[in-house]
Symmetry: C2
Subunit: 522 residues, 2 copies
């Protein structure tokens, strides 16, 4: 994600004990050496770009590169790591610095795109492209930055007329805190395309498992709470890297902002720092993540340490209900839900408040906190009453905002919130949504995840699989090695950033297939 | 210089004893901390670019830079060194890498020129421009490469909409092995413009005095023997960094090529290596540099160690004379003389052979080597006889090559070689050259140096000063902080490299004014 709003008069409140606990949980990274598998060309295939075999990797040592020569290396799969290589001169003694450009691409088109044409809204610095002078040759170039990539292009901008260079010993030291050996194999009768989707989803979450749960290793490389919720849920049925969830939870609770609000995202470098961005839904998800974590681990200490932070998110959110129990809509960028253009967030926010309230009541029950149980049940009833005021019985949809917008997202969240408390009605609403196909659609794997989970939780498993296939399955057909941040099978150029160049193609919130398959389909 | 021809079947012959002696003479560099003096704009002033004051350097801390913002810092004078600075974020926590471009310019136009438009013949890597991503802010950026510059432009390509950056603590650690405290002051009655020229020439040679006598600290940053001769001569009357001359002499003698030929240039990093380029005149200058060194230092050991290498250059050159004693012309790039377009090198080479023979005879005399004295006197007579066959009495010029070319360079070298052995005739030839102004002119300070010295040695001191003023003096008027590699007052865009962007603006062979002023005018 990359959201540019900030709260006013931002302050950070630090809980040193929590930070200490988080710090102690920071994992060592597992390092794996990966060498490029082949030399490729990137070619256009109808509207898509793909890599095609050009030469065996053993041929690299025979490729002498001078001004404007380039080579594209294919590492065989998506990696997150550090790259080094040797540059060796051939010909006369090098009489000028070698000057090279290196591009890294998660997908083939990133190698083709011209960074000079970038005029997107967010930082151009996300484009994985470096220019390097090498004064003394031969040289070992150890690139200090971490990259997320399958493809690496090395272009020699210039050597001199007297010498060329050869590339040797190209190596990526891939890093992750996700240990793939902890993931169980799928049953042998699992359908082959689901096995493939699971594999790609595992690669996706593994790439995002670093010293915290990052949203994307290319961009933004930091901890977003919306991603964390899905990563944690997927983790419990895959990598069992539960301490990393715990690490992140302590960080979020240890670095709140004004009034103890949990921020939308965190930075860990150069120091622990909560961002000055708050989102209604993201703050509430702290409650759900803590709930999920306790269900998965039964870790009493963490539940006890962090429940006060969870409760505070409920209080902050509950006061946003008007007297009718409806969450007040705002003009600002106050709530995320999805990147769909023009999406009104009110009904989605209403659903998420109810969803989180149910988890908060559980937290209160586990500590026999009768005052909180009673209080949150009152909030819950008020919120459900409010939600029903958004129900348009004639249209058969929940509406959102003053313009009574009908969107996919609003229906999905009201179902996940179980406003009807009735699986049959929930399923009917989902089917009605599918049939009518409201024009404010879902555009992120994050929102699709919620839709799929809503289906599967309401006895529509076949429908869920069908949609998983038509969404993540299409991404597979489009060549995904890891699942992408943004994907719309109808509009493949979708981006909220003004340019696709900064889209992330290994993105935490897209790891859902492993979660759905392993939690519901086994 | 940057010459692209190579000799065939190149081999390097290493004399380990000489290399050891050179190595032991490698100087420690003097480090000086230099801070920028002001913030400037680069503006066009008729056909020239110049810097104009924009703000006090203290204002830098108040300049918050985001996408496409830039600042140009003026360090007040030309420096050779390493740059570091701090980049501090302002605004929200940095949510994207900062991406910056840094350009260094010896002169203002280098800041304006667009490196994308470079299509010169030699390595684009010489352009002093870097692109840097900074993932973690604040950051101290210690740039690992050495730059030659007065102006430093920092352009923020992008931060993000949530933060900007401020530049702090910009510092250049300037390096040289030339100790300015060893240079005596000029007499107080020296004319002010000559004092200024001397100051600039001193700055020039100081910038080129590194671990060896470099030709230019921007480009090529290595040891060229043509530059060394002028640097050494200037050194003896200025910095007295005689051990650096000795260091270079031992390197040239320790790293000869086929048949013991002294190469045109040397590399010292990553290892000692003679280039595979040989030039008739440059090999011969080893003799003259050793001669000059001994005259200046009376260092018997070095003279004895290196005279064999000097003699070998004479033997290799002498066999290039035909039976008439004329140095054979060649189609290849066999001899340097000057960068003037279309210059035929034959007569110049003839002059330089005679010039070097006179020094070789002195070397032989100092060791009472009667065999060599006799042998070299025979070569000298033959070469002078050959030279006179190039004399066109009707035109009053020495001609060069099969097309009987008349150039300034040919006349100058025949005068310096003292072919006439008659100062009056020498002076007449120089005056005739000035009067006729042959169309193959001089284009480098290197060639102008020889012209000026020819004048001053033949009782034309006033004329010499006049020409020094009209050449180096014009460079001063054009804003030189150090003297330039290439300069032609008539064609200010002169370059042998296809693009001025890679011209060097602090160049060893341009340090002549200090030599002329201090040797002949005091």
């Amino acid at each position: 994600m990359a959201i540019t709003n900030s709260i006013e008069n931002f302050e950070m409140i630090i809980n040193e004990d929590f930070i200490k606990k988080a710090n102690a949980l920071t994992p060592e990274l597992i390092q794996t050496e990966v060498i490029p598998k082949q030399i490729v060309n990137i070619v256009q295939d109808e509207k898509n770009y793909k890599s095609v075999f050009q030469a065996n990797i053993d041929e690299l040592k025979n490729i002498k590169m001078g001004r404007n020569d380039l080579v594209v290396l294919d590492f065989g799969n998506h990696n997150v790591g550090y790259v080094k290589f040797r540059l060796v001169p051939v010909g006369s003694p090098p009489d000028a610095p070698a000057y090279i450009r290196i591009k890294f691409g998660e997908i083939p088109i990133e190698i083709i795109e011209d960074s000079n044409e970038y005029d997107g809204d967010i930082g151009k610095g996300w484009i994985q492209e470096e220019f390097i002078h090498i004064d003394v040759l031969p040289a070992v170039i150890e690139m200090p930055r971490r990259y997320a990539f399958r493809y690496m292009e090395i272009k020699v901008i210039d050597t001199s007329p007297k010498y060329k260079v050869v590339l040797e010993d190209v190596l990526c030291t891939a890093v992750t805190s996700g240990d793939i050996s902890k993931v169980t194999h799928l049953p042998s009768d699992m359908e082959i395309d689901l096995v493939e989707m699971d594999k790609i989803a595992l690669r996706t979450i593994q790439g995002c498992m670093q010293k915290g749960y990052e949203d994307g290793p290319k961009r933004d490389r930091r901890l977003w709470i919306g991603d964390l919720r899905l990563q944690a849920q997927t983790n419990y049925v895959t990598f069992h890297n539960d301490n990393l969830v715990k690490h992140d939870l302590y960080l979020y609770a240890g670095l709140t902002m004004n009034e103890g609000r949990v921020g939308a995202c965190l930075f860990t470098n150069p120091k622990y720092q909560v961002d000055d961005t708050a989102l209604f839904d993201y703050s509430l998800f702290f409650v759900s993540i803590l709930y999920d974590y306790y269900v998965a681990t039964k870790d009493e200490e963490t539940r006890k340490d962090l429940s006060a932070t969870a409760y505070q998110q409920i209080e902050l959110a509950a006061r946003e209900m008007d007297e009718d129990g409806i969450v007040k809509d705002k003009e600002t960028w106050w709530c995320f839900i999805d990147w769909a253009d023009g999406l009104n967030k009110q009904a989605g926010a209403q659903g998420i408040l109810i969803y989180a309230l149910r988890h908060a009541i559980k937290l209160a029950e586990w500590e026999n906190n009768t005052e909180k149980i009673e209080r949150y049940n009152k909030y819950l009833q008020k919120a459900i009453t409010g939600a029903m005021k958004l129900w348009d019985a004639e249209k058969g949809f929940f509406i959102s905002g003053s313009e009574r917008q009908i969107s996919w997202a609003s229906q999905v969240w009201m179902v996940l919130a179980n406003v009807f408390d009735d699986k049959i009605k929930n399923a009917q609403l989902l089917e009605h949504t599918i049939a009518v196909n409201p024009k404010i659609r879902m555009v992120t794997p994050y929102m699709y995840h919620h839709f799929i989970e809503a289906l599967v939780q309401n006895n529509r498993k076949e429908e869920a699989i069908k949609f998983m296939r038509s969404y993540w399955g299409e991404m597979v057909k489009d060549g995904a090695d890891t699942f992408w941040e943004l994907y719309d099978p109808i509009d493949k150029n979708v981006t909220p950033y003004g340019s696709k160049m900064v889209n992330s193609y290994c993105h935490a919130w897209s790891c859902s297939p492993s979660y759905i398959i392993r939690k519901y389909l086994m």
